[in-house]
């Protein structure tokens, strides 16, 4: 097992040698010594580079054993921590003091400005550890707890601010975190030179959430991932939404044109009734129909157009190839040249997606 391997977490640290890093460095030395009995702890170089690696390795170990997001840290850390390499009590104790809080959505934890703010190790029950490690750990702890308190200040609203000196505040906070699954708190590590008050932390967490959502949008909109700059990306998104809406309008025009008998004259029924009764082709009035038949058609791809009755000549293809049609509705972005007929028949050609918008422009100008 290679604890120094890259974990992808917290690799964006600056070179500062905070007490936290020092402790995790010692942690890593312990890991090392457990793996390799001949490992000489004193020879482990305490350079800043190792310090950088020490932190992610520590979190990596934790992540390895507790991959589930939002897992209650206290119980998980103390009860189920199983290490493949030996079981030193101090080691377990130290490992128990670190836990991982995940955000509510995974993209946010991996994306967002720096990687380190995404996850923060935090001692769940640092207040009442039954067996304390060596007294050398003690002087470091108050400072670490302060830092943890600061980062938790955002999570535990305002009350932790006043209770910053009071170490017992951490315990109810931890219990609050573990008991309520509804509110996964985002723990953000303050970057060097940045304010650590609760307001800016909350602001930064909010910013990262927003950036995560925007990244999802970028992936949805084709060709948007390459664009840099918020304004341009938003432009693309707006264009995409507008073009989709225009396509809906154009296609409804096309549908009206392709078959003069198609009409939804019973719109009142459609719009008001709970299970919209079928609107009828051939211009008959809309009447109540069998809602159960359409109740299962709730896939987004079916749309309201599908609620047309089945005059034989239109729907016999559906009856013949029922399986094909259902898969066709579901494959949104895929070109289906052999739409509902056997590949041999080419009567129902399927326009490639690109040509339709071109036609739409021409049609619109003609009309």
């Amino acid at each position: 097992m290679e604890p120094r391997g890259s974990s992808g977490v917290g690799s964006g640290n600056s070179g500062t040698y905070t007490p936290e890093i020092a402790e995790s460095l010692r942690f890593e030395e312990e890991i090392q010594s457990l793996i390799d009995p001949s490992f000489d702890a004193s020879s482990a170089a305490g350079g800043s580079f190792t310090a950088l690696l020490g932190l992610p390795a520590n979190q990596a170990v934790e992540l390895l054993h507790h991959p589930g997001p939002g897992e209650p840290p206290a119980s998980a850390a103390t009860d189920t921590l199983r290490l493949p390499f030996g079981c030193s009590s101090t080691f377990v104790e130290r490992a128990a003091r670190f836990s991982v809080f995940a955000t509510d959505d995974s993209p946010a934890s991996s994306s967002g400005g720096g990687l380190s703010p995404g996850l923060k190790a935090e001692p769940p029950d640092s207040d009442s550890p039954p067996t304390l490690p060596a007294p050398a750990g003690k002087p470091r702890r108050p400072s670490k707890r302060k830092e943890c308190e600061k980062s938790k200040a955002k999570a535990v609203a305002k009350k932790s601010k006043s209770a910053e000196e009071n170490t017992s505040a951490a315990k109810p906070a931890a219990e609050e975190n573990t008991s309520g699954d509804k509110l996964p708190y985002v723990h953000v590590r303050a970057r060097r030179g940045q304010a650590t008050d609760s307001h800016s932390l909350a602001e930064r967490a909010r910013r990262e959430k927003i950036n995560a959502r925007m990244k999802l949008l970028q992936e949805l909109v084709p060709g948007c991932s390459k664009i840099t700059g918020t304004a341009l990306v938003l432009d693309e998104i707006i264009n995409h939404v507008q073009s989709l809406q225009r396509q809906v309008e154009f296609l409804s025009m096309k549908l009206a044109a392709v078959n003069p008998r198609i009409d939804f004259s019973g719109l009142d029924h459609i719009l008001s009734a709970e299970c919209g009764p079928l609107a009828v082709a051939s211009g008959c009035g809309g009447g109540a129909s069998d809602p159960a038949m359409w109740a299962s058609d709730t896939a987004a791809s079916t749309g309201g157009i599908r609620r047309m009755p089945a005059p034989p000549q239109i729907w016999h293809l559906d009856v013949v190839h029922p399986q094909q049609s259902s898969t066709v509705w579901e494959n949104n972005g895929v070109a289906h040249p052999h739409f509902l007929l056997s590949p041999a028949t080419s009567l129902v050609g399927y326009d490639p997606a690109s040509s339709v918008p071109l036609n739409s422009n021409r049609l619109k100008t003609e009309l």
């Binding site: 304004a231 998104i237 707006i238 409804s252 392709v258 719009l271 896939a299 749309g303 157009i305 509902l340």
Partner: protein, 133 residues
Amino acid sequence: NASLAERSQRIKMAAEMGLVRSSRGRHWSRALGRRLLQREGITGCGCKNAALSTSSNVFEDLGVREIEDEAAEIGTRVRALQRLVPGGEELGLERLFEETADYIEALQGQVSAMRAMSCLLDGLEREKRMMGK
């Protein structure tokens, strides 16, 4: 037999109703549903008002001139997006992006379905005509 414009308007409303029905529970879906019910009385017989606003330039309506400040740039675009997504005007940035993503997916599904439908009907028309002759 009603005119092309009227019928296409009604088809469009039915399509939007389908959008609403298939994505129930979504904020934009409820907002769009409300908008449709509002206009139903007005456009039951085919007015020009469309539930989906398709003005060519969303920014024009906002009265935008020169935008130099970056924050202002983003601000106007966000406002434009809010107008495009049904119910977007009440939403904060984070929720707006969520709703936009879902709305885009639903629209893509709708477009795909309508495209397939029109192709199908088109082919059937041709087939019928060929059979007739």
